[in-house]
């Protein structure tokens, strides 16, 4: 179980021309990802989802709040002492082309973390070779052909599998996949997603999926939770299928309305929501962060910030004064 409470992160920008300014990347985010479970963060670029993923993986500091891994509170530990805890959480990057050292064979890439592990646990050298072959098989690669190769000799899909295999060498409890398939060829994407899903089921590794594509988030873990993040705030949170089928926050509705409709196979939703203007991060922080773009804003929205809570409008948490269900997503033709 990995939980976070009230995570706050501010980036300070220094600029000669525009002047120094502070960007609130995260404004008090709570999350909880159960062991073996799944969670997805969705939102536009700049919403803070990647920053949150990096904080969870221990690669970024945070200004306030608490991360608890298992039952250990991270802030009570010294940085050095935190390392073994954060090792349980492995980050899979978006870009498998730059995540692997081009001058190392796949064997060398896997050997380094495995030999460290072997030394720590007093295992023999032969274990390293066995385990290297094992993790490659786990991710659906043939060790015999892949081990001796360099990254440039592999396709994007295979490289991403190698990256996942490398993450598995340290027996992680959670994989944080940040847009892990967006640079992979379309026909190979589902294979990588299926692999992550499979690792969850077979190894009990929990998966945190960070994406702007809601459908892929659903594919990885329809039993997990979906967090919709907007300008550093979680604006809607609940079981994946509930949030997709019955979103009540206008921002979630905008995101879902924006998904291309496969005309001929699907019928578009009847009440699509389109934001009034595009995202401008220099907008004032007063009131609801989405108010300026929201077609349904009321007077209260510009002066007061709604907090994430469950109301009568919906069973999932939402941060909106005027939550309302709207039919926004496309439905298959066969269903109607």
């Amino acid at each position: 179980m990995i939980t976070g409470t009230g995570i706050v992160k501010t980036f300070k920008q220094r600029g000669k021309v525009l002047g120094a300014r502070e960007v609130m990347a995260l404004r008090g985010v709570d999350f909880a990802i159960p062991k073996g479970g799944a969670a997805s963060f969705i939102g536009e670029s700049g919403c803070g989802k990647t920053t949150l993923g990096r904080i969870i993986a221990g690669l970024e500091t945070y200004d306030a709040g608490e991360i608890i891994i298992g039952d250990v509170t991270m802030s009570s530990l010294r940085p050095k002492q935190r390392q073994p805890h954060y090792r349980k959480i492995q980050l899979i990057h978006q870009d498998p082309y730059s995540a692997l050292n081009p001058t190392r064979t796949i064997h060398q890439t896997l050997y380094a973390p495995l030999s460290l592990r072997a030394r720590q646990t007093g295992r023999p050298r032969s274990w390293i070779e066995e385990r290297a072959a094992e993790v490659l098989s786990l991710v659906g690669l043939d060790p015999g052909t892949v081990l001796a190769r360099y990254p440039h000799q592999l396709s994007g899909g295979m490289r991403q599998r190698v990256v996942i295999a490398r993450a598995l060498t340290v027996d992680p409890e959670m994989l944080v996949a940040d847009e892990a398939v967006s640079m992979i060829d379309v026909s190979l994407r589902l294979g990588i997603l299926a692999l992550l899903k499979d690792l969850r089921e077979r190894l009990g590794v929990s998966v945190l999926f960070i994406t702007h594509d809601v459908a892929t988030a659903r594919y990885i873990g329809d039993d997990g939770e979906l967090y919709v993040i907007y300008r550093g705030q979680v604006v809607e949170r609940g079981p994946v299928d509930t949030v997709i089928a019955d979103p009540v926050h206008p921002y979630t509705q905008s995101l879902l309305s924006a998904i291309p409709v496969l005309h001929g196979l699907e019928r578009p939703g009847e009440q699509p929501v389109m934001p009034l203007e595009s995202l401008d991060e220099s907008q004032s922080d007063e009131g609801c962060l989405f108010a300026r773009r929201c077609p349904f804003r009321g007077e209260r929205c510009t002066s007061e910030r709604p907090l994430l809570a469950v109301t009568e409008a919906a069973p999932q948490q939402h941060a909106c004064f005027y939550p309302e269900r709207r039919s926004v997503i496309a439905r298959p033709m066969s269903e109607v």
Binding site: L188, L190, G191, L193, V214, R218, I259, P260, L262, S278
Partner: protein
């Protein structure tokens, strides 16, 4: 600051003038038997092989393909802009009012680009000059194409940007870094259209954009297409993008066009096993999650693509003996909404039976 005032003065003067741009008609395009080869250590290998495709005047055609399918090379051929080590080896690209651009060279070719054919490059958001304001780049574009009425050009640009929901004056005074990804993409579209081109090629217009921005850009593409009377070609790896904007859908694989037809028909009832696999591999928002199935194998590269026979056979569930040796010919079925074309032995056999 001097640049800023220069552009502003030109705009305000231009706003008073009202010379309408000469109307041009949306051109039709006929690509026939086009083969584009790249020189490699293993000899000249085809990135696009014997492709025939017609863009009807006023239509939006979407080409879907994975990386290495040859879709960008095909699009560049429309401009006769394939760069060495690549070259168009055979075939023709007939554009109404221009002729076969494959034979164009030098000044004639340069004039055709921009004035007749607008191209929005892949990652248009990064293709602007970071040192110059958008307005300066616009003026450069005008001068290099011998536009006499630069004020008119600025007015036209402002109008186009305004049409796309941007503050034209502000954008023209901005440097690239002051614009968001979606805004830069719209600047790319503006630059492609401002010389009054009526054939527009958009290469991956929404890659690297957010969902909401993507939806916005696609809406703009549709509207501008209709308002200005364009013939539009959209190149993408994302079937969803094509589904949103295109009248006709063409699917490319291993340098070959394997299927084409009216978008809705192809999506509702894909015929080629590759098209079927692609559509099946899209995770959906509703329904059974496990309905989404991955396509086995991986796409071929320039070197691994089969020299003879069907390019898709390695990944195909319907593979037959004939697929190894004989290249499937395109079979055309005329329909009420336009022809449906598929190149697959298995489909042909099944329909004859």
């Amino acid at each position: 600051m001097s640049e800023r005032s220069e552009v502003t003065i030109k705009q305000s003067t231009a706003a008073r003038e009202a010379a309408a741009p000469p109307r041009k008609e949306a051109p039709g395009v006929r690509i026939s038997g086009l083969t584009v080869v790249y020189k490699t250590p293993a000899g000249e290998l085809p990135a696009v092989r014997d492709v025939s495709l017609t863009l009807e005047p006023g239509s939006i055609t979407g080409i879907v393909g994975e990386s290495g399918s040859g879709k960008s090379t095909l699009a560049l051929s429309l401009l006769n802009a394939v760069q060495p080590p690549g070259r168009i080896s055979t075939g023709s690209v007939e554009i109404d009012g221009l002729g076969d651009v494959v034979g164009f060279r030098g000044e004639r070719l340069r004039k055709a680009r921009g004035q007749h054919i607008g191209y929005v490059f892949q990652a248009a958001q990064n293709s602007l000059n970071p040192l110059k304001t958008v307005g300066k780049q616009l003026l450069d574009l005008g001068r290099s194409h011998g536009v006499d009425d630069l004020r008119g050009l600025v007015r036209e640009a402002k109008e186009l940007l305004g049409r796309m929901g941007l503050d034209g004056a502000r954008v023209l005074d901005s440097h690239q870094h002051e614009l968001s990804g979606g805004m830069r993409q719209r600047v790319g579209i503006m630059l492609a259209l401002v010389l009054n081109a009526h054939l527009v090629v958009l290469d991956e217009p929404t890659t690297a954009l957010d969902m909401i921005t993507q939806a916005n850009i696609l809406k703009i593409v549709r509207e501008v297409h209709a308002e200005r009377g364009l013939t539009t070609l959209v190149i993408t790896h994302d079937i969803g993008v094509v589904a949103e904007v295109a009248d006709r859908l063409a699917v490319m694989y291993g340098g070959r066009l394997v299927e084409q037809g009216p978008t809705r028909q192809v999506l509702a009832a894909p015929r080629h096993p590759y098209t079927r696999g692609l559509i099946k591999a899209i995770p959906r928002l509703v329904g059974d999650i496990d309905e989404a199935q991955a396509l086995p194998g991986r796409p071929p590269t320039l070197v691994t693509v089969p020299k003879e026979g069907c390019v898709f056979r390695e990944r195909c569930a319907l593979r037959m003996d004939v697929c190894d040796t004989v290249d499937p010919q395109a079979r055309v079925d005329e329909g009420a909404y336009g022809p449906r074309i598929v190149a697959c032995h298995a489909v042909t056999v099944k329909e004859r039976a």
